[in-house]
């Protein structure tokens, strides 16, 4: 029974996803949907890092920029095809994560936070000033569309399927890692490094692994970003962007992969819907983070799941016909 209903849900979901590009007429809107999908990939990386392993990165857009510039430079300067530049982008972002992770992850957790912010600032400066290599503030233009065996991903609609496919692959892979031994060791490290060490977990290596995997997702996102927009410049990857990514992950609930995905879509569309507030985007974003941390640090999914748990417990305690007063349960949550 359960399996059947699961399959039905999956099918429904697939139909909804497949029909999205046919329901959205405007290319611009579809472009925003695609961008949100790319951010969702990166935000899943943050969930990995923050929600699972308990490490904070304030510079994930810097890691995205590594992926974007790697693929952009390889494709434009060396005319390499996507099948080569895509993995290259991922590998180079992972290398950068190693570079930052090795010195900082042995230390207290705020070092990684500050070092990633530093990387964000430093990389921005390098991208702006090293004009001969990065083209400075002008950025890289005319990044080609990816093509496979003669078929080029050209339209926004094609991009939509492409991004959703990669998003699903990343999600399934991440979900499997979450459930595996590695995922459990991430969570053990988050719960307490000392206790994890006693359990025989190499805390330092576990944290590095989490950061490198997280960076791989950021690099993937950066690479897709470059090929979707066909243009990248340093300002696409500034500190504000990093904080926006963070707020996406905590809005949905940093301990839930799907929460991150939902957060990415909601927070990409919210500013689009609230166009008139665009000038205050950073203000609103900052206040949003502040409020989430004060009111519901576990995010949307956290609140919902604790609500569910309360309902479940109530049901177990009470006989079925004496059903609990739902309003009361919700009242407690507030």
């Amino acid at each position: 029974m359960k399996k059947v209903s699961k399959i039905i849900i999956m099918l429904l979901l697939a139909i909804i996803i497949l029909s999205v590009p046919h329901l959205i007429k405007s290319d611009y809107t579809l472009h925003v949907v695609n961008l949100a999908g790319i951010y969702a990939i990166c935000v899943m990386g943050l969930v990995f890092l923050l929600g699972f392993a308990g490490q904070l990165s304030l510079g994930h857009s810097a890691l995205m920029s590594i992926g974007a510039y790697t693929t952009g430079l390889l494709a434009v300067e060396l005319n390499l095809p996507f099948v080569i530049t895509f993995p290259a982008a991922i590998v180079v972002s992972m290398l950068f994560a190693l570079l930052i992770g090795i010195p900082t992850l042995k230390l207290k957790s705020f070092y990684l936070a500050m070092a990633t912010r530093g990387l964000n600032i430093a990389l921005f400066i390098v991208l702006i000033n090293w004009k001969r290599f990065t083209h400075g503030a002008d950025g890289i233009v005319n990044i080609p569309r990816p093509s496979f065996a003669g078929f080029t991903i050209q339209t926004e609609r094609a991009w939509f399927y492409f991004i959703v496919a990669i998003l699903i692959v990343c999600y399934i892979a991440s979900r499997n890692i979450e459930k595996s031994r590695i995922g459990r060791s991430f969570k053990a490290v988050k719960e307490g490094e000392l206790a994890a060490e006693v359990m025989g977990i190499d805390v330092y290596r576990t944290k590095i692994l989490a950061f490198v995997l997280s960076s791989a997702l950021a690099g993937t996102a950066g690479c897709l970003f470059a090929h979707l927009n066909q243009f990248i410049c340093p300002n696409d990857f500034n500190i504000t962007q990093s904080v926006t990514l963070l707020s996406m992950s905590i809005f949905g609930g940093s301990e839930y992969l799907l929460g991150g995905v939902v957060g990415a879509y909601v927070l990409t569309f919210l500013p689009e819907a609230l166009r008139f507030l665009q000038t205050y985007a950073r203000f609103i974003n900052g206040i949003l983070i502040l409020l989430i941390m004060i009111l519901a640090p576990s995010g949307l999914f956290g609140v919902v799941s604790s609500l569910f748990e309360k309902l479940k417990r109530q049901k177990k305690l009470d006989p079925p016909n004496n059903s609990p007063n739902i309003a009361d349960v919700e009242g407690m949550e507030n």
Binding site: L50, G54, L56, L58, L99, I100, I102, P103, T104, K106, L107, K108, S109, F110, Y111, A113, M114, A115, R117, G118, L119, I121, A122, L123, I125, V126, I128, N129, I239, T240, V243, L246, S247, I250, Y280, A281, R282, F283, N285, G286, I287, L288, I289, L290, M293, I294, P297
Partner: protein, 292 residues
Amino acid sequence: MSGILPQLLFSGLAIGCIYGLVGLGFIQVYNAVGLTNFAQGEFVMLGAYLFVSAVVIWKAPFWVGFLFLLVGMAVIGFLFTRGVYKPTYKAGRFAFLLASVGLSMALQDLVVLIWGPVPLYMPRLVSESSFNIGNVFINPQHIIIIGSTILLLIIQYLIFQKTPLGKMMRATAQDQFAATLSGIKVPLMIIFTFVNSSILAGIAGFLVGPVFSVTPSMGASAMLKGFVGCTIGGWGSIPGAVLGGILVGIIEIFSSFYISSAYKDAIVFLVLILFLLFKPKGIFGETVSEKV
């Protein structure tokens, strides 16, 4: 050419004093509650804006402006403790950190909303023209910065070492539970700590304003450098934070002169990474005496 070395050292020292003050505020909060306040840099910026509004916009006399800054920063420190620290410190280790990141971003935009995006000019106590001693050109504002920093450090020393309040604050930083049992009002001491550190940041903004211009983003890089200073000095060590900050200032000035001024912040970041790699405990180490 012979005058260039002492001149660079002097400017580095002056700029470094600012980072030292930012770092000092960092360390005091870190020692007291074990947390890093990522909005510390924006407090620097707010100090500068408060002073400029009083003196330039409302045409208040200089000393009134300074008083306004002190009171304003104290209020900000208090509100920060009540509004950000208190509701978040129990909700996991990153709640406070993230909340302060959010606040720092919101504050950068808030000053644009209030004061506009155009950099403001901060009036000086002293004339703008440099004078020279031998062949060393001296910027008078640099002397003000160094002098004020020394004065501030003496005041801080006296507060923390000689007054009952300061001793109670140190006791609270070292062991909150034992402080509670000794009858100390721990929440009040934490408020005082945040107030003190935000006043330090505000004064740093007031001092650095005339050197750079007053902009919404002036705090962000000051914070990174204050942090690097703390790391060089060794987290937990108060003299380490100040000396580390000064060292960062000197590195910054030297690398702007000999390498490139565009890359100076990137070089500071490189210094951070190198220190974390080879001397993660900093020069002074985390002193046993301050934190066990």
